[in-house]
């Protein structure tokens, strides 16, 4: 019993350390993203790059700690998923912008770029997905669960 309690305490400690660490991570990530311009090649060019998950700014289902501690980017843009639609349907942003999708529906959705440049995985209610656009172009995307739901990001 005492052992069990101890383990619990230890867990709590580890968890809080972890969130501190994640907070630090979030901070440093923003720092590096604003300074480094050595991003991968233009997503539109790399048609077969299905593994561009590295370009994600955060996972599809961020932990609360990460979500809260991820600072706003210099040019935040958001697409809301609501009533089985992406709003706004067309969003125009500057190169280097990180776009975040947030699902406000009770249904799960996904954000899949037509040429598989990016792919969110499952976004359940309130889950977010972010992607940093490093090359100009028009990126069409849809929900793989409800393919009638489409949107596009124009990067200039």
């Amino acid at each position: 019993m005492i052992n069990h309690l101890k383990r619990k305490l230890l867990l709590v400690t580890v968890t809080s350390l972890l969130s501190l660490f994640l907070a630090a991570c979030g901070q440093s990530r923003t720092d590096s993203s604003s300074s480094s311009e050595t991003s991968p090649p233009a997503p539109t060019v790399s048609r077969n790059s299905n593994t561009d998950m590295s370009k994600m700014e955060m996972p599809a289902k961020p932990s609360p700690a990460m979500g809260k501690n991820l600072p706003a980017t210099s040019n935040p843009e958001q697409v809301v998923v609501e009533n089985f639609s992406f709003q706004p349907g067309t969003l125009t942003v500057k190169v280097g912008t990180t776009v975040t999708w947030v699902n406000h529906d009770d249904e799960p959705h996904t954000v899949n770029e037509t040429n598989k440049t990016f792919k969110s995985g499952t976004l359940d209610t309130d889950a977010k997905f972010s992607y940093k656009f490093t090359s100009p172009g028009t990126y069409s995307y849809f929900c793989s669960l409800h393919p009638r739901m489409t949107g596009q990001i124009i990067v200039k």
Binding site: P108, T122, F142, L145, H146, P147, R148, M149
Partner: protein, 322 residues
């Protein structure tokens, strides 16, 4: 009234009242009876002891893992559906699950569904996936669990007492919708590989063989604006049109709709989890959230089908959970 009767055959002389009585269990699925190629309803069940008679139950859209309004315990209502099946006097030969077994296709959600179905008296369950079962990993987990004995990417056919059953998959590799026209609306699709397989699969069959096709997304266009249809279903049906009796069973839209077109009868089934709006009556498809708790079970259901070896039509009974 919690029961809805389809294809009831007047000439059986079975009064509607006694028909309803025989369906007093009023469950969450639908029993199909095959009768010389035509699905017959429960009104024929008293004759179920005749030689060559069998029934099966269709369950659909259990969405294990869904936990929002109007149903925060979909595992419970799924279990209730199984309990209804187990209470049937004439046990179905097997069950058919027409997809959306899970909400998010995670291993634990599949585990829960399997666990519930283990308590069903019929041990044989045939599955086809819904888009919720395959969208996160292109069907990898689904196929690992349910792919045994199937062809291609999971489709299959089998024969049972002279009836040819075909399980089709129309939820893989869904293409981006363009928002206009057929095929531009994010419809389901069967794909060329499956269509080729289907053509070969039915080639050697006599035209008098009763055919039952089951798939998740409806194989006829119900409402293009919501993607409720299958892009290449006409091609699939063209391979089947020479058969005298074709029954198509679908899920996906969480409500009962029926259409008869020549020798083909199309049916969609209720969900065991939550209802969806009638086509076009809401801004978007999705769960109807404001169903009062005491009314929920009246909009969930299962379907029973019984088949008799005579010339009666095959009838279908959709039953609500409560």
């Amino acid at each position: 009234m919690s029961d809805e009767i389809r294809n009831e055959k007047e000439s059986n002389g079975v009064e509607r009242r006694s028909f309803l009585k025989c369906m007093a269990w009023a469950g969450t699925g639908l029993v199909w009876a095959m009768n010389a190629g035509v699905l017959t309803s429960c009104s024929l069940l008293p004759g179920a002891k005749q030689k060559g008679v069998f029934s099966f139950v269709q369950i659909s859209d259990s969405h294990i893992g869904f936990n929002k309004e109007p149903n925060q315990d979909v595992t419970k209502t799924f279990q209730e559906a199984v309990n209804r099946i187990n209470a049937l006097e004439e046990q179905p030969a097997f069950l058919i699950h027409t997809g959306d077994i899970t909400q998010l296709s995670t291993p634990d959600q599949f585990d829960t569904a399997t666990q519930v179905l283990k308590s069903a008296k019929p041990s044989q369950v045939y599955y086809v996936p819904g888009e919720h079962d395959v969208f996160s990993d292109d069907g990898k987990i689904y196929l690992e669990r349910y792919g045994k004995g199937t062809q291609g990417q999971g489709w299959r056919s089998f024969d049972y007492q002279g009836v040819h059953f075909i399980g089709l998959i129309n939820v893989l590799n869904l293409k981006q919708g363009t928002g206009t026209g057929l095929g531009g609306s994010g419809f389901g699709q069967l794909g060329n590989d499956q269509l080729e397989w289907l053509e070969k699969d039915v080639k050697g069959l006599s035209s008098s063989t009763p055919i039952v096709v089951y798939a998740h997304i409806p194989l006829w266009t119900i409402y293009p604006e919501w993607g409720w249809g299958t892009e290449d279903s006409a091609q699939a049906l063209s391979y089947l049109k020479r058969f005298g009796s074709i029954t198509v069973l679908n899920g996906h839209i969480h409500q009962i709709l029926q259409k008869v077109e020549g020798n083909v009868t199309f049916h969609t089934a209720r969900s065991t989890a939550f209802p969806q709006p009638a086509p076009g009556t809401a801004p978007a498809p999705g769960p109807i959230k404001d169903v009062p708790a005491d009314k929920l079970r009246s909009v969930l259901g299962l379907r029973e089908v019984t088949y008799l070896s005579n010339n009666s039509p095959l009838a279908i009974v959709d039953s609500a959970l409560g």
